[in-house]
């Protein structure tokens, strides 16, 4: 196979050859030809090196958080819980997933790996304590701070510095990231805001926020305790744990296996690579993704799901200035809020989707039909009518009532608020929040300000997650944006390509 064709210039052909080599795609003849050129042609050799590095940076930029695109939600398989009594310490309950995963994760994770590998030796030289998953007494050194990077600690006065030893106790980040290495050599990367306790040589407790964990072979058994009596035990892997404001937790495995267990409910699962478990207090543990396959009730689809996906449904909810006659007039009166609200929308079982005309009795009129489908998004868009509109996002509230879940299905609802830059064709997510059943969820937008031009959009999306055999509702939910100014269009802003 050759990459050269009549329409390919020599530079592109050379780059294609290099990229195919890096992906292990060359035939023996092509490989021999590549080596000959690398040996004989200094210019080509320089391009080869530059392109190899360039490709690494592109990988890191394209998916900096390593979030892989989700499969279509129609691709679901059933999950069966595994009684904890059936699990031995290393039982290969489930087959390992494939190795395909985000390459960006590898580039991003390289920093943690480097630190882990390097500092392990340092700690081995100065601390011969055997790793244990029992709690360490307060005051005993259990870890070292590897890197504080851009971390902001809640307690600035006693914020640890890179290289400091750490005793058992809390670490609270308000923002940024920091990496900690336990005596066992397990490395935990904290992303603020985050509330984490170091409770032993090989164990920690996460109360809020998100951590990434890398566990080299000698630290197998590293444990993370979570709310509601949940424990995540490493079986040789790299994984991420997030505790949401509702005390629900997500456990995502990138490599190897972990066990997610809740002894007080006799629940335990083993997760393989490219799998995610969601734990909601007082509900069964759910495997929402297993070895790349979404499972019933998956709630892993974050904003990326609907921003580029084909599964969204479109509705005609409107933004209006409170009390104003014309939605497009909203921007004309500075200080007037653009409000979105939903009131007593009723959604029927997804097997019988029904369209309802919805009328709000207050100032906001929702004049379009809203068709609810199971796990599909209900979406409200507001399109900015002119250039240079400066808005402030006010906090809001989402009050959802999901109804009774089906067996092994924890109910929940998710709201996403995002801004679409029409010029750059790019979404910016302001909020992506998942709440539990029958509760009010605040929509904290922190009074963020942003500027919109004509054609830019504000989008609010809501959905019930999981399967539900009863109705789902939004009750008196609201969110407001206030117009705070109008600026002239930036003349240097380029047009979209």
């Amino acid at each position: 196979m050759s990459d050269r064709d009549d329409h390919t210039n020599p530079r592109d052909a050379d780059t294609a050859l290099i990229l195919r080599y890096l992906d292990g795609q060359l035939s023996d003849d092509e490989f021999a030809a590549l080596e000959a050129r690398l040996h004989d042609d200094a210019d080509f050799r320089s391009r080869f090196i530059a392109m190899t590095i360039h490709a690494g940076y592109i990988a890191a930029v394209v998916a900096p958080d390593g979030v892989a695109a989700a499969d279509d939600e129609s691709d679901i398989i059933e999950a069966e819980p595994i009684p904890v009594a059936q699990l031995g310490p290393r039982d290969p309950i489930r087959a390992h997933g494939g190795r395909v995963r985000s390459e960006a994760i590898r580039y991003a994770a390289a920093a943690v790996l480097l630190i882990a590998a390097a500092v392990v030796v340092t700690l081995m030289q100065r601390d011969t304590t055997n790793p244990a998953d029992t709690a360490a007494p307060a005051g005993r050194t259990v870890a070292a701070m590897l890197n504080t990077g851009d971390a902001e600690f809640a307690d600035r006065a006693s914020a640890p510095q890179s290289g400091d030893t750490l005793t058992a106790g809390p670490l609270r980040l308000t923002s940024g990231t920091a990496q900690v290495m336990f005596n066992s050599s397990a490395v935990v990367s904290l992303s603020g805001p985050c509330d984490f306790d170091m409770i032993g040589d090989n164990a920690g407790r996460l109360s809020a926020g998100s951590i990434d964990v890398y566990v080299p072979e000698r630290a197998h058994g590293f444990a993370v305790e979570l709310p509601d009596g949940v424990r995540v035990v490493d079986l040789g892997t790299r994984f991420r744990v997030s505790v949401l404001p509702s005390d629900a937790s997500d456990v995502e495995v990138f490599r190897g296996r972990v066990r997610v267990e809740r002894p007080n409910r006799s629940e335990a699962y083993e997760l393989v690579a490219d799998s995610i478990a969601r734990v909601v207090p007082n509900s069964p543990i759910r495997i929402t993704r297993e070895a790349g396959k979404l499972r019933t009730g998956a709630v892993i689809s974050r904003a990326a799901d609907w921003l580029g996906a084909s599964t969204m449904t479109s509705t005609n909810w409107e933004f209006r200035r409170q009390g104003g006659p014309d939605p497009q007039d909203a921007w004309r009166s500075l200080g007037s809020p653009l409000e979105w609200s939903a009131k007593r929308e009723r959604f029927e079982n997804s097997t019988r989707p029904v369209t309802y005309p919805i009328v709000d009795r207050t100032a906001i009129r929702i004049n379009g039909p809203l068709r609810y489908q199971e796990r599909r998004w209900a979406i409200a868009d507001w399109v900015c009518p002119q250039d240079g509109l400066e808005l402030k996002a006010n906090d809001g509230v989402l009050d959802s009532q999901i109804g009774s879940p089906t067996e092994n299905e924890a109910p929940g609802s998710q709201i996403v608020v995002a801004i679409f830059d029409d010029s750059a064709k790019r979404w910016t997510v302001l909020l992506d929040s998942i709440g539990d059943d029958d509760q009010q969820v605040s929509i904290p937008l922190d009074r963020r300000r942003f500027a919109l031009d004509a054609g830019d959009r504000i989008r609010i999306a809501w959905r019930a997650t999981g399967s539900h055999n009863e109705q789902a509702r939004l009750n008196d939910s609201a969110l407001a944006f206030t117009v705070v100014g109008v600026r002239s269009r930036n003349p240097s802003r380029p047009d979209a390509p």
Partner: protein
């Protein structure tokens, strides 16, 4: 004089993309490259006495990585497909000219250039780097033939390189 361990870690972190790329250039497998980088990083700490200053660290790591990479390829196959010693000598020698880690400006420029790609080009990058598809899988993911998808991928890489260059030169660059 031996380098302090924390300084070694800082340098390795700053150059992680280049080092991973160097190893990948030898083994053409990002998974294997990462494992080797991890081993070599530990080795750099263990052998810090043998490293004479920061300037010596990266060449030392590359040399160690090269030999670990060749050993790994040999373990994987009796007749591994790998560049010969002379070719690797040339690559290793030239690599030093690319040791400068990308600045924040360069990364910002690259990010802006990626954002300005067409949806189709972006979908190819996503399929390659987000979903990790290569070869036929990549072609299937974007519904193109394998040969043509790599040509398209190469055009995107070249366009991004040009775009970054123009942005750093102060021009407003489209991709």
């Amino acid at each position: 004089m031996a380098l302090p361990h924390d300084q070694i870690v800082r340098v390795l972190m700053r150059h992680r993309v280049q080092l991973l790329a160097f190893i990948r250039a030898i083994v053409s497998d990002v998974h294997l490259a990462e494992d080797i980088l991890q081993d070599v990083s530990a080795l750099a700490i263990q052998k810090s006495d043998a490293i004479d200053g920061e300037d010596h660290l990266l060449p030392w790591v590359r040399q160690a990585a090269r030999y670990k990479a060749m050993n790994a390829l040999a373990k994987r196959s009796r007749q591994p497909r790998a560049f010969g010693d002379k070719t690797l000598d040339l690559i290793e020698a030239d690599w030093a000219a690319h040791d400068t880690a990308a600045s924040n400006d360069t990364l910002d420029a690259l990010e802006q250039c990626v954002e300005r790609l067409s949806p189709y080009s972006r979908s190819i990058l996503d399929a390659r780097y987000k979903q990790g598809h290569v070869g036929d899988q990549l072609a299937e993911a974007v519904k193109r033939k394998t040969a043509s998808v790599y040509v398209q991928l190469s055009r995107i890489h070249n366009a991004l390189a040009d775009c970054v260059r123009r942005r750093l030169a102060g021009e407003v660059a489209d991709v």
